[in-house]
Amino acid sequence: MSADAETGRGDRRSRILGDLRGARNIGIAVTSTVVFFAIVAIVVVNSAGWPEVRKAFFDRKLFDSSFPEVGHAFLLNIRIFCIAEALILVFALAIAVLRGLPGPVLFPFRLLAVLYTDLFRGIPTILVIYILGFGAPALQLSGVPRSPLFWGVTALVLVYSAYVAEVYRAGIESVHPSQEAAARSLGLSRAQTLRHVIVPQAVRRVIPPLLNDFIGLQKDSALVALIGPIEAFRQSQIDVAATFNYTPYVATALLFILLTIPLARLTDWLIARDRRRQSAGATR
């Protein structure tokens, strides 16, 4: 009895100590952060070129006037990667599944899938965009769209699907073969097993790396500008050319960051949650 009471008290004491320690840690973190950024700010502001830089990059008036314009153009970026992401999710999964199909008859398909992922991971994205954006319309085939926007999105889908297919494949291979055996033993066909047992588990596991790739895609939506469409980056270039001031670039950067940060935090949170789950599973 007395021993119980004592350990109880001990627990409580250590919990309060832990809280105190936690509060002190937060204090230290806040102080060191403030000091660090203050030093950086002082160094930058006192540098010889700062007045020039401030005028060229951080002109408040120009920022206010270019932000709506750039923001409007940014809607095109959002459209580009929303459409691209949806297509990539489906197309990459098809490639990954194709690559995992068994049997000698299907060898050509596997080969094709391997060639595809090798090819499009090897060529710089910007080259794929140029080649498709200028090359495909030049063929003048009837029925083939000539819009550079179409070919820009297609290029992004092709490049990113190659990466995402590999992510999917890693996920599929991480599902233990006993899951397949269990599903097949119940009479499910190979396709049904993939559809209901393997792919759902694989996708769940690869969501964090998948989101990571999509952060890259969001940024690369700016590359489509190189073949014509006026998205945020292109719009800011136009504004810069008109005013001889770089502030519109800063406005564009801010827009990209505003979009990336939530996705990055979501990815971190999902990874942390997975890790918690795994350790919970291991100790049970």
């Binding site: 006993s178 033993s185 499910l188 209901h196």
Partner: protein
């Protein structure tokens, strides 16, 4: 042997992995409603034998007949055969991303094409019968090992198989959870389910099996009633195996 119809018949079954011959001519006849226990040392081929019957492994030679029908022919529809043969694994192999209910109804809806409502009603009744009614909405990782294994048995039973194969279904369980699973199997035996059971639980084999087969190096070396095998084993290898089991305190 028995006047009853043959449910499962293995004739000269051979199976190799690479150059290693795991099954070296297995003959076995299981009649309807019979419970056959396979015993034997680790690596003697018990799991492989069961996986061959369920066509999870393709045999190299011999034939396997299910209710008189050859299932090892090349042109046989493996999915159709697996519908008729239930298997339960040592490691449960439940689908972790599905609830208990969905685990049980996945195959009945997609393979037997029952309506969702019908499948769920049947699954619920089965889960109830094995004391799992309140777990139907849970995910497998929230269940104890014993509960998970009972769900796995229910999942196989929901297909109304002609034959059940159980592969050391209690080996992965904590000792205090073994009894609940064994009592489920006993109940199935009493209900007349034809079963082939690979097990290390000798006392269970003794009081449930109609016949015990001792598997040694890929052959059925000796078989007979539990009484015969456990108290008067003829073969020296069987005697050795049982002595080791007794020494390990498992009989």
């Amino acid at each position: 042997m028995s006047a009853r119809a043959s449910a499962l018949r293995l004739e000269g079954v051979h199976k190799s992995f690479g150059s290693f011959e795991v099954l070296r001519g297995v003959d076995l006849d299981v009649s309807e409603h019979e419970v056959v226990c396979l015993i034997g040392a680790s690596g003697s081929g018990k799991s492989t034998l069961l996986r061959c019957v369920n066509l999870l492994e393709r045999i190299d030679a011999g034939t396997i007949l299910l209710n008189g029908e050859e299932i090892t022919r090349r042109d046989v529809d493996v999915n159709a055969v697996r519908r008729r043969v239930g298997i339960v694994f040592q490691a449960f192999n439940l689908f972790p991303h599905m609830t208990v209910l969905r685990n049980v109804t996945l195959a009945t809806t997609h393979v037997l094409h029952k309506s969702r409502a019908e499948a769920e009603a049947e699954a619920t009744a089965l889960l109830e019968r094995f004391g799992l009614a309140d777990k139907r909405g849970e995910y497998p990782d929230r269940l104890s090992g014993g509960q998970q294994q009972r769900v796995a048995i229910v999942r196989a039973l929901a297909m109304q198989p002609e034959l059940m194969l159980l592969d050391e279904v209690t080996s992965a369980l904590d000792p205090e959870l073994v009894a609940e699973v064994l009592s489920v199997i006993r109940e199935l035996a009493e209900a007349g389910m034809t079963m082939v059971i690979a097990t290390h639980e000798m006392s269970f084999a003794r009081d449930t099996a109609n016949r015990v087969c001792f598997l040694d190096a890929g052959r059925i070396l000796e078989q007979g009633s539990a009484e015969e095998i456990f108290t008067h084993p003829r073969e020296p290898r069987t005697q050795q195996f049982l002595e080791r089991i007794i020494a390990a305190g498992r009989l």
